[in-house]
């Protein structure tokens, strides 16, 4: 699928990209990758994509409730990141929240583009979560899904099977064909690693 980008923003010329150092790697923080992206580094942009495509798609899916529109919102978000990376100021905070804000704005734009009739306010109080709760839930999911991308595949598998496939530890062991002790070791290591990544995301970069 082609990206649709407003013609007002020109992408950096290839020469600018060629002038960049080839330093983009998984060790760099989100903020550093955004700065490199601002200078036209395609590798840095690709690493950001791998880290954030799934959290962004999850956020868009929860907000828009439609996979097709969520897909479009993710593409628009990355187009915006490529365009607007130069406006990121590392001294104002880490890159993760900045990326979250870009994604949220793209999703809101897509949500507004939908022509829906006005809904009348219900007479009775709703038990559904309100905007603050939804925002908090989105932010939690965003950080957790982002952190999952940092796990090695062997650890991510045990977490996904245990948490979202309804398998017990013994069943995970059977499914993966590994000893139960290995499942437990990987699970504990995965939780510890997730804790580290989540701490990093919450702290400064």
């Amino acid at each position: 699928m082609e990206l649709v980008i407003d013609s007002g923003a020109r992408l950096p010329a290839p020469a600018a990209r060629a002038s960049m150092r080839s330093v983009a790697s998984n060790d760099l923080s989100d903020g550093e990758l955004i700065c490199l992206t601002a200078e036209g580094d395609g590798d840095a942009f690709e690493i950001l994509y791998r880290r954030y495509a799934r959290p962004m798609f999850g956020l868009a899916l929860r907000r828009l409730g439609d996979r097709g529109r969520a897909e479009d919102a993710v593409q628009e978000t990355f187009a915006s990141i490529w365009r607007a990376a130069g406006s990121y100021r590392p001294e104002r905070g880490p890159g993760g929240p900045w990326l979250y804000a870009v994604a949220r704005n793209a999703i809101i734009d897509r949500s507004r583009a939908r022509n829906e009739p006005a809904v009348e306010a219900p007479d009775t109080e709703s038990n559904d979560p309100g905007p603050p709760e939804l925002a908090e839930r989105d932010w939690v999911a965003w950080r957790v899904h982002r952190a999952l991308e940092e796990l090695p595949e062997s650890q991510r598998n045990v977490i996904e099977l245990a948490y979202w496939s309804g398998l017990s530890q013994s069943e995970v062991a059977t499914y993966l064909g590994i000893p139960l002790g290995t499942v437990k070791t990987r699970t504990r290591a995965a939780l510890a690693r997730l804790g580290d990544v989540l701490d990093d995301l919450e702290g400064s970069e």
Binding site: E2, I5, G58, L61, G68, E160, G166, L191, G195
Partner: protein, 200 residues
């Protein structure tokens, strides 16, 4: 059924209090966050679209318009071709009724419509499932639909392997009466565990 994992089972008892507290916080965040979605193919393969700047080059507007028109024409031809082929092969489905299915915690954004025809002379009951937003499956896994009566599974209606935006499958069940319903489960080969992803 999908269930919340037991933290104690996951980490065991031989963890120091401080570390246990930290891991438990991560556990709670994982439960609160829910599963990350499967990426659709167009997003899952960034190498095709994002690795080099070339994909961001714009087509001239007139050419982009022509490409869109061509794509629309191809889509129309494909649709009409499928429609004609479907009718020619007797693929019509004469629905007598339908019921909505909704996603569970294991697939919250999934939904489906189950339709049924009149029972045939052999006592079979043709069904058609149109499911939307089922998560993509890992290897060695498939979806299976069951007919239920009074909430209990009484027969398999068949299995299918697909995820993505919309999938339409023809299934079958032995004709039955009573308070009926359906569930769709995600099943992993070699594992007794099943996660219900859709239910009426």
């Amino acid at each position: 059924m999908n269930r919340e994992p037991d933290f104690r089972e996951l980490v065991g008892d031989d963890v120091e209090a401080e570390e246990r507290e930290r891991l438990e916080r991560v556990h709670e965040l994982l439960v609160a966050a829910g599963p990350p979605p499967e990426l659709p193919p167009s997003l899952a393969d960034p190498d095709a679209e994002y690795s080099e700047p070339q994909p961001y080059e714009f087509l001239p507007r007139r050419r982009a318009g022509a490409m869109l028109a061509l794509a629309a024409a191809i889509a129309l031809i494909a649709f009409l071709g499928g429609f004609v082929a479907g009718h020619r092969n007797g693929a019509q489905f004469n629905s007598l009724g339908s019921a909505a299915m909704h996603g569970t915690k294991a697939a919250p954004s999934a939904s489906a419509t189950i339709s049924w025809e009149e029972r045939d002379a052999s006592g079979n009951w043709p069904l058609k499932l149109v499911a939307r937003n089922l998560p993509a499956l890992p290897r060695n896994a498939h979806y299976e639909m069951y007919l239920t009566r009074e909430g209990k599974r009484i027969a398999s209606c068949g299995s299918f392997a697909s995820g993505g935006r919309t999938v339409t499958v023809r299934l079958n069940a032995p004709y039955t009466t009573g308070r009926l319903g359906w569930v769709v489960t995600r099943e992993v080969r070699g594992s007794p565990a099943q996660a219900v992803v859709l239910t009426t």
